[in-house]
Symmetry: C2
Subunit: 299 residues, 2 copies
């Protein structure tokens, strides 16, 4: 168990390190009188983060036997979208956060205008990356990745979830609503991560169904763990504010089910995620360890 | 001349009206607890604007003989990107404008958070539209449109121009710099509009070169006309503030060349744009009339 844990941590760290190199390569060089936007994008995109979404994409592809370089390109596009969403969510008009991944948020390190524009530019870059033929030789697969990414990050995905989060207010005491909120706000992009890895590896419909069940359970477990950390976590470990949701009187899985109830839910979802990958035997070991990692993470 | 002018105005109005229908169709229906974001997108996207960029795309395609429905889908994606850029440029942290197309800007009609998110959602939607097979049966063409749109609206295009515009400050007294600024900020998307129409119509390299020369001259003429209107225009006609740039002490083509000098430059560029389309004879009539329209527009 400790061995499996160490092996997983080594793999996660190794992929994060390689991902850093790929991310640095996909960023535009700071050049021209607009160089500061490239610098701001690099500030936000590089040097931090677990790179969980790229990890999921890469490991889902590996599970099905794909190892080509295009996987890393697609993972970079995905991380661009994730980071753009963090930049915009941190803005004063939204969550108004000063810290992210232990350093100043982009609008604090630069300014609000550049934070809006750097987010826009990372979102734009993601689609530019996915359109390139080094992602996958089959144009149809690239278009599917583009279409799926747009859907999972748009109004029926991540943006929709953020809108619910901002405006639901005191109405969000309802478990059905917060489940939907999280399915959109964080779940949709996690789902995309896993499915995109599958598509790049030539997944069959059977594979896509299994990956989808895994991703949905994992995404919700991830969010419940976030709610637990918001109450139990140490802000110096997490590199961001804690007790935000409780402080705002927002409903969370913890406020509805209590700490122990929420932990049990997360465990049950974790089991469900693992059992969805039973057909893949030991090829699914890494994705199953990812479930334990998500359930036990401290940040 | 008056006849050609009327014919052009009829065509422009007709395409704008049809475009309105297509834009309403591509927008997501307001549904779910996030319905307000769909409403905000509709507020910003529908009911106004000359739809000049869609018009350019559609007429460039028509000039080369293409008339399929996919042209309208691509034009809708393009307009989503244009409108997203207006929403974000109007934000308090950027131009801080209250009026756009004669009505309240999105962050005034709703709020800042929703304006950021609605802009993000329109940008995302643009790529989702372009990935659909009703745009063009050839997947390679759709990927090219996606790639080109990302490039022309990213850090080496529209966003780059906006960054220069915001931060060049008093340094922007240099004609080379303001020409570059405008080539990126407005020129790149106008260039894309014309080229995308060409690509959808199966343009040859020769055609693309001609369209490119036309678009570059037209884009710069467009911007010079904007600078002229900023001084001469009537804000009640234009539906937005005038005298913004002069008020801010920003260099413009008018401040560098004077009003008459700027008008002459715009005329010369207009001639250059028209001559680039000589090979197409009367098939280019509409795009040539567009030049006159851009040079004479009052808003």
């Amino acid at each position: 168990m400790a061995h499996a844990h160490n092996k997983f941590q080594t793999r996660l760290a190794s992929i994060a390190a390689d991902m850093e190199t790929v991310l640095a390569q996909v960023l535009p060089e700071p050049a021209g009188p607009q160089a500061r936007i490239m610098e701001a994008m690099a500030y936000a995109l590089l040097g931090g983060g677990k790179r969980l979404r790229p990890f999921l994409l890469i490991e889902a592809a590996h599970m099905l036997g794909a190892k080509n370089q295009g996987i890393w390109q697609a993972a970079a596009a995905l991380e661009c979208v994730h980071v753009y969403s963090l930049i915009h969510d941190d803005l004063p008009c939204m969550d108004d956060d000063d810290l992210r991944r232990g350093k100043l948020t982009l609008h604090k390190a630069y300014d609000e205008a550049l934070a809006v524009l750097a987010g826009d530019a990372l979102l734009t870059l993601a689609f530019e990356i996915l359109a390139q033929d080094n992602v996958h030789p089959d144009a149809g697969i690239r278009l599917q990745l583009i279409s799926d990414l747009a859907e999972s990050s748009g109004t029926h995905g991540m943006i929709g979830g953020q809108v619910i989060d901002i405006y639901a207010g005191d109405g969000a005491q309802d478990e059905a609503l917060i489940t939907q909120l999280q399915a959109l706000k964080t779940g949709a992009l996690i789902h995309y991560s896993v499915l995109a890895g599958g598509r790049l590896a030539g997944a069959t419909d059977f594979d896509l169904q299994n990956l989808s069940a895994y991703a949905n359970a994992l995404g919700l477990a991830f969010q419940i763990r976030d709610d637990i950390l918001d109450v139990e976590g140490d802000s110096s470990v997490m590199g961001k504010r804690t007790n935000k949701d409780a402080g705002l009187g927002k409903a969370t899985f913890v406020s509805i089910h209590g700490l122990e109830g929420a932990k049990q839910m997360a465990q049950d979802l974790g089991e469900r995620a693992k059992s969805a990958l039973k057909p893949y035997g030991e090829n699914a070991d890494i994705l199953c360890s990812t479930v334990d990692f998500v359930l036990n993470r401290q940040k």
